[in-house]
Symmetry: C2
Subunit: 221 residues, 2 copies
Amino acid sequence: MAISFTEENYLKVIHRLSEATSEDISTNAVAELMQTKAASVTDMLRKLADKGWVNYQKYQGVRLSAEGEKIALSIVRKHRLWELFLVDKMGFNWDEVHEIAEQLEHIESDQLVNKLDEYLGFPKTDPHGDPIPNKDGILPELAYSHLSDIKATKTCKLMGVAQDSAVFLQLLTKLNLNLGAKLAIKEINEFDRSIFVSINDTAPIFISHEVAKNILVKILA
Amino acid sequence: MAISFTEENYLKVIHRLSEATSEDISTNAVAELMQTKAASVTDMLRKLADKGWVNYQKYQGVRLSAEGEKIALSIVRKHRLWELFLVDKMGFNWDEVHEIAEQLEHIESDQLVNKLDEYLGFPKTDPHGDPIPNKDGILPELAYSHLSDIKATKTCKLMGVAQDSAVFLQLLTKLNLNLGAKLAIKEINEFDRSIFVSINDTAPIFISHEVAKNILVKILA
DNA sequence: AATAATTTTTAGATTAACCTAAAAATTTAA
DNA sequence: TTAAATTTTTAGGTTAATCTAAAAATTATT
């Protein structure tokens, strides 16, 4: 069945909201992410339900059906592959690629997506450390920790971010916090839970709790 | 001013028709290429004229304005760069890339287009031999001849095609007629203007006038 | 030059995606 | 457990791009 860009974006947004909770997704939550009004969302949810991509009971919120989940994952796959392409092959910075990938994710060609995947070497994660679903829509489970949850004097490796807004990514770049960096937590300040952390064995720098919360790491031995 | 995919496609079609003639372009001609009805075209032409992208007088046909021409050339540039990307980097055949490039040509990011151009080595032509407009919208003038216009016993090089339908390209591939091939015209048959041509110094093959008309060549010394 | 044929435009609808304002349902709080 | 607050839906419109059918203009033909 044919699908429009708008329908794809709704499915993507419902998918994103569903990752954070096992509850049904509210009309208002969708409206906020779609930057539209609740009334418009109601219209669209009814349409998506008619097409069998979501389960929706009025006033009760919405969830993706199995088929809707499959579509959403294929969009996420395309988005993340294109982001990696833009960074690795075209030389963009990780904070510049989101808007362009929002467009590229709607290009329709399974052949192209799979060739792109191969061209990039069947990558597991995008430039923000987010996992890339494979051809069959399977998401590799990465299970990373938030830097804010790591105990003092532990060492870990920066694997991703929990938020990929341009301003946040630019801040990380300024602080020299890049994907793969080795982070050694020197001290956690009780006052505001800010931390001192050494990046790749250089002199420790100061990081706010807010920043640490959005950094994903793998704990090293 | 914002532009929709549909508007871009109309400008592209008007541009294509304008290349073949210096006359004004008729509503019906646009309708045929856009696969739509004349009434819809009339509506759109009025809208494009309001936006300043075409000059249009009702019943008198349409032409691109300077600004419309600029937009059309930027779309052609993107289309041809993406086609080359698909063939050179992603391993598609030259008859498989048109539909995908029709989608990719609408991706909006000057930065991306220019990086793509650089990544491909600032190419002059796409996989069908069509010239790629540069950043400033300048089309390199290639001035190739049609194979059907070349005299017997001349030698030439296959530089492009005058038509890029998949069926035609597939036929060329079957006949081993690829971009860059050296063609030696052995004989022109008076009966139907079919020709005997040797490809890269192999035994001559028979080619119809219809095929020869759509092959573009550069005459060799 | 008058008529016929063709092309183009106008008029009036349709569909997808959105909106505002008002009504209805649900949730929260007194 | 009612009343108040909030959320969601319905009702009725709007805009972009399309359509069909009828009218108007242009072009071709006798």
